[in-house]
Symmetry: C2
């Protein structure tokens, strides 16, 4: 397993792509929300379906053969635009924009109808999806990238849909292993606690040049 | 917390809705995949964005004020069409169609580009999202519905994007608590193991009539 591609776009090309794909993907996210919530009648639904299928066919006229992957940039950063949590081009991703300082990483974000489990609450599995990404990011930010080996979630109370915050930090490390912890925070405080073990994969230790080890695995 | 609504649609109305919304939501899922993978040029992307925004505006002319929720049907089943894992009307959901016998529950499904973490592999958090739903379903199917109290994932190997299977079963139970286990299975065998504790919420024990306790919480 490797599959990380090199990406030689200039900073200007990258910026142009950000400006093109950010509002485009946001429009598809908005359509996802409307798809769940619409009360339009059957004729309107069928007309919308036909238009969406036509747009999709045009977009697919030229496309990647598979998934987006992760592209390693010359400046050492990675472009995970297809990622299910942070992907700028992935409408399934909220997307989280993860910030960091020397001690922890965090993200403030909004979850709407597309992330529902129990009525008006975030799906418990969505909270684990987001915390997995955030804990992995905390390990990477501390210079200890790894893939998730184990993850434990403790649910303290239901997480309401709406504005939320997640935080994560490295708890301890040992050799190729790093333990990270994190929390999801709603308007009434912590809703979910997470602890994860992240391990630098064998292929990254033995088979890949140091400069090809991505700063993050997701 | 409750929020479960009663749903008095007839079987015929329900079937008509299934036939309307299944292909419509599938079209939006297909657009999500094309959004990630398209290599169309900037003009085409901008044109697609404008068309998508117009469709969304028409769909939103009449819509639910919030999320879809969960609707309890007169026959005792629940309609979780907004659910992030199984929701028939949620383009974020793959969606999983969970089958069951007296011993376990399972789902066969396909995950494409929208669920990526490391290049060509399923996001580790997506596997936890799906297993949370499946373990909760196993508890419900055994007549022991509950909300997730804790969930532990052990990652055995990376899960490739593509055709996958998940299985779950009840391990043991005690009072309002039920422990369920499950696995995610790829072409080379088990990739992720999960164990979860599900607890019947207090409001369901004390405040709600027995017929209002949903068969599942998500």
């Amino acid at each position: 397993m490797n599959g990380y591609e090199h990406d030689h776009t200039t900073a200007e090309q990258l910026q142009a792509e950000v400006e093109l794909y950010t509002p485009f993907t946001a429009a598809v996210r908005d359509l996802v929300d409307a798809t769940i919530r619409t009360l339009a009648g059957p004729d309107e639904i069928r007309a919308a379906q036909a238009e969406i299928e036509a747009v999709t066919a045009r977009l697919r006229a030229e496309q990647l053969p598979g998934s987006y992957g992760v592209r390693l940039r010359d400046d050492g950063t990675a472009r995970s635009w297809g990622n299910a949590v942070v992907g700028l081009r992935n409408p399934v991703a909220p997307p989280l924009r993860i910030e960091s300082d020397s001690e922890r990483v965090w993200a403030d974000f909004h979850l709407g109808a597309a992330y529902e489990g129990p009525p008006t609450f975030v799906h418990g599995g969505v909270t684990s999806l987001l915390l997995d990404q955030l804990l992995g990011h905390a390990a990477s930010a501390a210079g200890r990238p790894g893939m998730t080996a184990s993850l434990t979630l403790s649910y303290r109370r239901p997480t309401p849909l709406g504005d939320l915050r997640a935080e994560a930090w490295v708890d301890r490390s040992e050799g190729y292993k790093t333990w990270a912890k994190g929390v999801l925070i709603g308007p009434d405080g912590v809703t979910v606690e997470a602890e994860g073990l992240f391990i630098l994969p064998r292929w990254a230790r033995e088979q890949v040049a140091p400069e090809d080890i991505p700063a993050s695995f997701e």
